[in-house]
Symmetry: C2
Subunit: 134 residues, 2 copies
DNA sequence: CGGGATCCTAGGGGATACTG
DNA sequence: CAGTATCCCCTAGGATCCCG
């Protein structure tokens, strides 16, 4: 097999796996890619279901990875904006094929649910992890 | 923002995230894609570091997802071979951009380490999670 | 050889309360 | 507003043993 291309080793993936494995990471990358710059609470509502701790945590991680940029303004009230770096944008582009593949598999129209479905109440609860409202 | 393409929602990703999040899933998909068909212990050595339970577990998951096929031969000694399904192959193709992106980021040559580096001693231990041999 | 059953652990992630 | 700190729970995943 593998006649369709060279054999690709997963070594490079090692570094990415723990990033994309971070349940919310891709969500953040994506929402940020779609909206440009967002503030903490905008992300909170956009992701709806994430806890502040987890958001902060993931945000820090992505920041360290150089995927997103954090800009704080010393104002009252405080304002902090997050946006993708070039790297983050490339990551977003890189996972698009994956999204399309997933979309085809699950019968999503993919472009038809942009505005409303970025919030996922039962996000990861598909297997047997009720969100709480269940 | 998002001028390069339509806004992509992550709904479809919900289903994929828990697959790609499975630390070893992509490794298995890839190794299987490169080697065609592999037996349990071949996977064990190829992944080197995975526990039989986890391998079995992940194998089952991927099987249920229809990404790989399991063929058991009633012989002595028993032989079981795993190979990608068409879907699995598509997934592999879908994550290639991701791999290339990761490879570029980390300075891998990506095609230069195929034969030897599919085993990762310190696979996920990059951040501070020594494998045990450390 | 393949892999199921069991046990155990680290830590990811949610909730809540509190602070700068 | 934008976090941080704390607590707790739960699941993924490693180790081990054993069976077909």
């Amino acid at each position: 097999m593998a006649e369709e291309s060279v054999q690709v080793c997963l070594c490079p993936l090692e570094g990415v796996i723990d990033t994309i494995s971070k349940k919310w990471a891709l969500l953040i990358i994506n929402i940020l890619g779609n909206h440009g710059r967002l503030r903490f609470n905008e992300l909170m509502s956009g992701l709806e279901g994430i806890s502040p701790k987890t958001l902060t945590d993931t945000l820090h991680l992505l920041q360290e990875e150089g995927l997103l940029r954090r800009e704080a303004f010393a104002e009252i009230p405080p304002r902090v904006e997050y946006s993708l770096t070039a790297d983050g944008g490339e990551l977003l582009a890189a996972i698009r094929p994956l999204i399309r593949w997933a979309a085809r598999r699950e019968g999503f129209s993919e472009t038809g649910c942009s505005p409303h479905c970025r919030r996922g109440p039962g996000h990861h609860g598909r297997k047997g992890k009720p969100v709480k409202s269940a």
